[in-house]
């Protein structure tokens, strides 16, 4: 541990300290508990019968052969499900004309994507359940497949929801100023059509759930590796018609989430229901192949973007039209990520005239949901690509265009009139730092030397902002989201003086239990190792409006912890004040004591104060409530905006089309850093996902709606060979509306990388005819870039 910046004694491990994570020893020794380690006696295992067709009527399901197999307890079909379960709620209903596409936990009457659940088999073992699943006979009547945006929007397109006039789930336009006039009067305009491929969070641990529905108490205990236990609890209650208090959701260690585990799914409903029907605990662990068709997809969009500008490179107007390729059913976040892409395109720039639109179309693909970064990577790809295009048109360095259009600190808070109010940040400073770091690391010189030697090396830069600390409840309400944006926290000191933090946030590897302990340590000025963080149990832990996602755990949940700790501290001082007969204002906590300011060592130990508050009440004074516990609810007043800049160095091999990422600079302003080592780790991981998104990861469908990439040999995650060492640079501009100044860092790494890599490839190929318009860039495409003349 190192000291903190707040003048606390070394060893406290407060804000700004590098503290070893509490969770590490169990994880490195193999003793941590993940969802597949949860199994009580008598547990039945689920295997799913998943549709081999992308679009089909279910004419009948014959499960008799499966049920005849010894050890098979139940086979649940959609026809039976609807007798017990309501439709899955959609949390995001924020598009004015958003349609309803009732989605159940499994297919009912019709399948709309390959891999959709048609039947669920519960048996004594997973292997037996899989055997039985193969014996379930399903009679399908295939229907025409809607493969693409063009298919979906064709006038005679087959409709996924027959009651709708087309396949459009929702469409909306947002504007500010007069974009038409600005384009009409512009000295320069440029436009591009861009596309971003289909990708997903792909945590290394697939999803899983273990449910026990106690017949006689009518209570459900559900273990699940979810980022949003409170939301899952409410959804289970709503869908299965039980009171919220009748559902206890518990979360073990989570093997990565990346947003895909923030959505809620049908599988957990099926576990609960089959437990009710069989009287046994029921467990489901998604296998890897299933994860590709059953865990939310993300990213895939078509983006038409254009800017109008002066000859000096001042952008006067922006148009952005995004179509999101939704799946065959609607996920729990509706078309939220697509919407956020559209309204986030202006990024860190001052653009007075905006016309931004979003459309979500249904296709026969896996549902579209959350993945780290949500809308921001595509928005940044769109904006930064069009800046590169404008720079070429004007013959100016693209960084000059950025500088001319950045919102400056003195203009903040700056509302772009559509969605964002940029609260704080030094965007040009971040760009300067990025260029400076690239230079210091020798990359500009390296590029020149490599080029002189005939190699194709390029450098690309992209600036970004991302809305973080989601989200103020009033913003959520304005968007029609039936969830709050606040967080509740409870902090207790026990009778020995040790402290426990109770939070609704979850730990999924991002170090949140350690980070929250640091905030508590900072407030109480006690060593962080005296603090335990309890999370992942809806019966024991407080409520959170939105769970863990949207880079909000520190910026919202952390503030609640800090404020609850503040309340606890007031109680501690009140008790000590009575014991010492000293005014509260004259007391401080230091060196494990509540002591009189200016008289170090004169006081009571925290252990003694705590003992008195619980067990020697004669010591605490008349009218003082026994126990020591603080509670707080924090609801931010506004979103905050993390921001920064990525600089990526690539080498292109014209013979193979291969792209090697050689260097990667990530400048990030996440506001106040709580634990710089954890912040770096979050950036590294996000940047690696940006590399995957730009160069490797692609969920490919054929025209029949069959997903072709369902193994790690086809869907390529970056390995240590594709990822370079990272060079991170930190800027700390405190968030003005977050007590403590945190903005959030969970997603930032994913955001600017794809745009920067696209620019780096352009630069490496160095041909005016070449412009990256689609990600991920395949070797074939790069080969064509390099060999266009040949």
């Amino acid at each position: 541990m190192t000291g903190t910046r707040h003048g606390h004694e070394p060893g406290v491990g407060g804000v700004g300290a590098v503290v070893r994570r509490h969770s590490d020893p169990a994880l490195v020794t193999g003793h941590a508990t993940f969802i597949d380690d949860i199994e009580s006696g008598g547990t039945l295992h689920l295997a799913m019968v998943r549709s081999p067709f992308a679009h089909a009527e279910i004419k009948g399901v014959d499960a008799s052969a499966a049920l005849d197999l010894p050890g098979v307890h139940a086979v649940l079909t959609g026809a039976e499900l609807v007798r017990h379960a309501k439709v899955q709620p959609v949390g995001w209903e924020h598009i004015d004309n958003q349609r309803a596409a009732p989605t159940y936990a499994m297919a009912v009457g019709k399948v709309r994507y390959c891999g959709q659940i048609v039947a669920a088999v519960a048996a004594e073992s997973r292997a037996l359940a899989e055997d039985a699943a193969e014996l379930v006979e399903v009679d399908y009547e295939p229907l025409p497949v809607v493969h693409s945006i063009e298919d979906a929007l064709a006038p005679d397109a087959p409709r996924l929801v027959p009651e709708w006039p087309d396949n459009v789930f929702g469409s909306q336009t947002y504007g500010n100023g007069d974009a038409d006039a600005a384009f009409a009067d512009a000295e320069v305009t440029v436009s591009e059509r861009l596309t971003f491929g289909r990708q997903f969070g792909c945590p290394l641990e697939p999803r899983g759930a273990v449910a026990t529905w106690e017949r006689y108490t009518n209570r459900i205990e559900l273990w699940i590796n979810s980022q949003s236990p409170n939301r899952v609890r409410e959804v289970v209650a709503e869908v299965l018609g039980v009171p919220v208090s009748g559902v206890r959701v518990r979360v073990p260690g989570i093997g990565g989430g990346f947003g895909s585990k923030a959505n809620y799914y049908g599988e957990e409903i099926l576990c609960c229901l089959l437990s009710r029907l069989t009287g046994r605990p029921v467990k489901y662990i998604e296998d890897r192949q299933e994860s590709f068709v059953a865990t939310s997809h993300a990213r895939e969009q078509r983006i038409d973007v254009a800017v109008a500008a002066t000859r000096d490179g001042v952008i006067t107007a922006l148009r952005g039209h995004i179509v999101g390729v939704l799946g065959g059913e609607i996920s729990s976040v509706g078309m939220g990520p697509v919407w956020l892409s559209a309204v986030s395109i202006p990024g860190p720039y001052r653009i007075p005239n905006l016309e931004l639109s979003v459309t979500g179309v249904l296709t026969n693909r896996t549902p579209y949901g959350s993945y780290r970064g949500w809308g921001a990577p595509k928005a940044t790809f769109a904006m930064e690509r069009i800046i590169e295009r404008l720079a070429r048109e004007l013959g100016v360095d693209s960084n000059e265009i950025r500088r001319r259009n950045f919102v400056r600190p003195e203009e903040m808070p700056y509302s772009n009139g559509v969605f964002a109010t940029l609260d704080s940040g030094r965007y040009e400073h971040c760009l300067d730092l990025c260029v400076e770091r690239l230079r210091r690391d020798g990359w500009y010189r390296f590029r020149e030397e490599a080029r002189a030697a005939g190699r194709k090396v390029g450098i690309g830069v992209a600036a970004f902002v991302e809305s973080t600390g989601i989200g103020p409840s009033r913003v959520m309400a304005r968007l029609g989201i039936a969830q709050g944006g606040y967080d509740e926290a409870v902090v207790r000191m026990d009778s020995t003086g040790r402290v426990t933090v109770f939070t609704g946030q979850t730990e999924m590897g991002q170090g949140m239990s350690t980070t929250l302990a640091q905030l508590c340590a900072d407030e109480l000025n006690i060593p962080v190792d005296q603090i335990t963080v309890v999370m992942g149990d809806t019966d024991a832990c407080p409520y959170t409006g939105y769970g863990t996602g949207g880079s909000r755990a520190a910026a919202v949940g952390g503030v609640a912890v800090r404020q609850a700790t503040g309340e606890l501290k007031r109680q501690i001082l009140r008790v000590a004040s009575h014991q010492l007969e000293v005014d509260v204002a004259d007391l401080e906590i230091a060196d494990g004591l509540v002591q009189v300011r200016g008289l170090p060592g004169y006081g009571r130990t925290l252990a003694d104060v705590a003992y008195a508050a619980y067990r020697r009440l004669t010591d605490v004074g008349e009218g003082t409530t026994p126990t020591l516990q603080g509670r707080a609810v924090f609801d931010p007043v506004a979103l905050t905006y993390a921001n920064g800049c990525a600089g990526v160095v690539v080498e292109v091999d014209p013979a193979t089309g291969g792209v090697t990422v050689l260097g990667y600079v990530m400048v990030d302003d996440c506001g106040t850093m709580i634990n710089p080592q954890i912040v770096d780790g979050q950036l590294h991981g996000g940047c690696a996902q940006a590399i995957g998104g730009a160069l490797l990861e692609d969920l490919v469908y054929d025209r029949n709606g069959q997903l072709l990439t369902t193994t790690f040999m086809d869907y390529l995650l970056p390995t240590a060979m594709e990822v370079p060492p990272f060079s991170t640079v930190h800027v700390e501009t405190p968030a003005p509306n977050t007590p403590g100044g945190m903005k959030g860092v969970g997603e930032a790494g994913t955001v600017p990388g794809p745009a920067a890599i696209a620019a780096a490839i352009d630069d490496a190929v160095d041909d005016p005819a070449v412009f990256v318009r689609h990600l991920p860039v395949s070797p074939e495409q790069v080969y064509r870039f390099c060999n266009a003349a040949g």
């Binding site: 590490d24 020794t29 993940f34 292997a127 260690g253 990565g256 690696a688």
Partner: protein, 164 residues
């Protein structure tokens, strides 16, 4: 199909002789997790790509999801549970924590087993060598940067000791 003949397997797992019965089709990973209670063997893909289930099998690393349990009869197996010496972490485990080389920790057991084998080989380690050695394991959280640093730090400490 189910109801196959049960096969009895006897193996040494982390220094302890274990005898268990399993089905012929059962993977070694499943048997280790469910019959030998070594839950540090994690399943990330079950098709031999991610490396989370990596164990040491008769002295060399192997992917336990690609082996059948009966193959382990008579074998000497070490899993991540076998690295630490009681409460004393293995230097790699210590370094992974110190360098923040793990986040969710699900892939970590596999990386530790591979890194341990790499260090045992004893050759000089460079960043390139380490990256190549761990390239058969997937980590979705860390971006590998700190994993490479942690392994190099242990290698450096060892060579430092050797020079003393």
């Amino acid at each position: 199909m189910s109801g196959e003949t049960a096969i009895t397997v006897s193996a040494t797992v982390n220094g302890r002789r274990q005898t268990f019965t399993c089905e012929a089709r059962e993977t070694l990973a499943d048997a280790l997790r469910r019959r030998c209670q070594v839950r540090g063997v994690h399943l990330g893909c079950e098709h031999g790509v991610c490396g989370a289930c990596t164990i040491r099998f008769d002295g060399v690393t192997a992917r336990s999801c690609l082996m059948f349990a009966p193959q382990a009869d008579g074998a000497e197996i070490v899993t991540v549970e076998g690295l630490a010496d009681g409460d004393e972490l293995h230097p790699l485990q210590e370094a992974f924590s110190r360098h923040h080389a793990l986040q969710c920790g699900f892939c970590t057991p596999g990386f530790l087993m591979v890194a341990q084998e790499l260090l045992a080989e004893g050759g000089p380690l460079t960043e390139e060598v380490v990256r190549e050695a761990i390239s058969g394991n997937i980590c979705r959280c860390t971006g590998y940067h700190n994993i490479v640093e942690a392994i190099l730090a242990v290698a450096d400490a060892r060579s430092g000791e050797a020079e003393k």
